[in-house]
């Protein structure tokens, strides 16, 4: 760690903490968001996520070394964590902290992109199925049944292995394509209730086109479950990416992703556990934060349910 990277790290922590404090302060004005911050874990979740996102964005500043460079494969192999190597070095003598920071970019990037695709597709299918009902609903929901029965990891393993190494964006795309089934059911259930409401009937009576009713009136009112499932999706996609990378068919090494780092570390688990530890901890923390935030959002966005 150089002085500059220490400084950047401290600034990142301070900025994350301040951001949460500011959010919390703003939240006091709104009943919804007060409910959100009543979850103690939700505030922590926000903080952790903000911190890791800052690390990902500012990776070149926070990371002292290039993530793929091997400074000294002979003497610096499996160096335990120290002040110079914050998280130690891995079996190839690469700085684990630098890989961690750049890995955040790839892992969080795939998580966000994949979740966006999954949620967009899921919302669209769910809204169309719930709005048109009849045979459209029947067809789409059978498709969803099939999708839910697909053993996702087997299909993903197949797709990824058969098409060789997928580039970054395609990996996110493929994972997103297999992750929307749950969301679509959720949105459909919500839309089924919404389509009978007066404002939808009114919009239709005024002659609005179906697409306008769906995108302008129905979907915005189904925002709550969509946002919650988006938060959960990011975690799911992240976990899937990590699993695939761990099995050696996700993000191509030597590019760092948290899954890759665990896979690298697994080889020297007994001599250098830190190479596995931190990446896995990061994944767990992100997923946990997202779950906590989703819990908070569920309470904040749903006025009917008393928080329990």
């Amino acid at each position: 760690m150089t002085f500059a990277s220490w400084l950047a790290l401290v600034i990142a922590i301070v900025v994350a903490a301040e951001a949460v404090r500011w959010l919390r302060h703003r939240a006091l004005a709104h009943e919804h968001w007060r409910r959100f911050f009543r979850h103690p874990t939700a505030a922590w979740g926000c903080g952790i996520l903000t911190f890791l996102v800052i690390i990902a964005i500012a990776a070149p500043l926070v990371a002292p070394l290039d993530p793929v460079v091997q400074p000294d494969p002979v003497r610096l192999q499996n160096h335990p964590p120290s002040l110079t190597f914050l998280m130690g070095t891995d079996v190839f003598s690469r700085d684990v902290w630098s890989r961690f920071a750049y890995g955040a970019r790839i892992s969080l990037g795939i998580g966000a992109l994949g979740a966006f695709i999954a949620v967009a597709l899921g919302s669209l299918v769910g809204a169309v199925a719930g709005y048109y009902r009849r045979w459209v609903d029947g067809m789409l929901m059978r498709l969803v049944d099939i999708g839910l029965a697909l053993p996702r990891i087997f299909i993903l393993l197949m797709a990824v292995a058969l098409w060789d190494r997928l580039p970054f964006a395609w990996l996110a795309f493929v994972i997103g394509l297999t992750s929307w089934f749950g969301t679509s059911r959720l949105v459909r259930a919500e839309v089924l209730g919404l389509r009978e409401r007066e404002f939808v009937v009114a919009a239709r009576a005024l002659g609005a086109r179906s697409s306008r009713v769906i995108f302008g009136h129905v979907l915005p009112n189904a925002a709550a479950p969509i946002i919650v499932s988006a938060a959960l999706s990011v975690g799911n996609v992240l976990l899937l990416e990590a699993s695939l990378s761990f099995l050696g068919i996700g993000v191509a090494p030597p590019r760092p992703s948290w899954g890759n780092m665990i896979a690298d570390g697994a080889l020297s688990l007994y001599t250098a556990p830190w190479t596995t530890l931190f990446a896995g901890l990061a994944i767990s923390l992100v997923v946990m934060s997202l779950n906590a935030v989703a819990d908070g959002l569920r309470d904040a966005l749903d006025p009917r349910e008393e928080s329990s």
Partner: protein
């Protein structure tokens, strides 16, 4: 109810059929040749042509598909190029290990998960509940393969309590033929099953707690209390019985998680199960094995949700009266 179950059964078969088709199409869309003439492992082009003819790979895709389906109905899953044996045999050898793993994990998942969830709900918002709530939230978020590695490191390497891999001691107990070997087998299963079971249990606990608390707010629970029933009776007969219904739904949804977990956990603990078979087959482009395992896995998922439906129908009289109730519970 019989009509409903029958319809579910037909739907299950249709879903498996669709999955088979999907997998078949996917494999044939992928680039790559089944037999490389030349390249790294040099094969005589003549032999290549012979092999392609022998396995009918020169036929139109629809013909191949039809043949595949016919063979499938006959119970023939194909022949593995990489393993040099029928796929059915290879799978038959590996499925028991996966089922053992998944079964043990499932048991741990639901005994521990339901217990914790009910306990938390009874102590809602007090210290034990808050502590357990945070613990289950963390465990639920752990990547299974990472937890497997950590358990392996702690209990296998540092404390040396459990073996670090394999399904049994390869020298003393290649087969289960004595009590010692049975214990050895179980001993090998502890860490892998605990990995999957703990993550699952954390999820089940959260789920069950939420279900219990939701039921607790319903009118019939208040009525039960108001008419002076003793508290244990309110909790056990009114709250728990209804909260368990949604756990049955969760039971059906657990199978995909278990199978995904099995792929990773079997790879880490070197268990000769179906997940590991698939990973190996994929790296070797062993089409037949990949299709077959995807098929078996989806059959397991579908069977799981079918079992859950049957249990739900048995447990919930509402479904026996009108079928749509099942949908309400599933989507709730």
């Amino acid at each position: 109810m019989m009509a409903w179950l029958l319809r579910r059964l037909v739907a299950s078969v249709a879903i498996i059929f669709a999955v088979v088709t999907f997998v078949f199409v996917l494999i044939h869309l992928a680039p790559g040749e089944p037999c490389f003439a030349g390249g790294e492992n040099f094969t005589d082009p003549e032999i290549c042509r012979l092999l392609v003819r022998q396995f009918g790979l020169d036929q139109p895709i629809l013909v191949q598909y039809w043949r595949y389906l016919v063979e499938l109905v006959r119970g023939n899953l194909g022949y593995s190029f990489a393993l040099h044996r029928p796929v059915g045999d290879a799978i038959a050898d590996t499925v028991p290990f996966t089922l053992q793993l998944a079964g043990t994990a499932l048991l741990l998942d639901f005994t521990l998960g339901l217990g914790l969830g009910i306990y938390q709900a009874l102590r809602a918002n007090r210290l034990p509940d808050v502590v357990l709530g945070n613990v289950t939230l963390f465990v639920y978020s752990l990547p299974t393969f990472w937890l497997a590695l950590i358990l392996l490191f702690l209990f296998g390497e540092k404390l040396r309590l459990f073996p670090v891999g394999g399904a049994s001691d390869p020298i003393l107990c290649p087969t289960v033929d004595s009590l010692y070997c049975l214990v050895d087998r179980i001993w090998h299963l502890v860490l892998p099953a605990a990995t999957l079971g703990l993550v699952g249990a954390a999820g089940t606990a959260r789920f069950q707690r939420a279900a219990m608390l939701e039921i607790a707010q319903q009118d019939f629970v208040r009525t039960a209390r108001a008419k002076g029933l003793p508290e244990p009776r309110v909790v056990l007969r009114h709250q728990l019985r209804n909260a368990l219904l949604s756990s049955i739904t969760r039971f059906g949804l657990t199978f995909p998680f278990l199978l995904t977990g099995a792929v990773l956990v079997e790879t880490i603990f070197a268990l000769p199960g179906m997940g590991r078979l698939t990973v190996d087959a994929i790296l070797q482009r062993d089409y037949a094995v990949v299709t077959a395992t995807a098929l078996i896995a989806s059959a397991m998922v579908v069977t799981g949700s079918l079992i859950a439906d049957i249990l739900l129908a048995l447990a919930d009289p509402r479904i026996r009266v009108h079928e749509d109730a099942a949908l309400d519970i599933v989507t709730a």
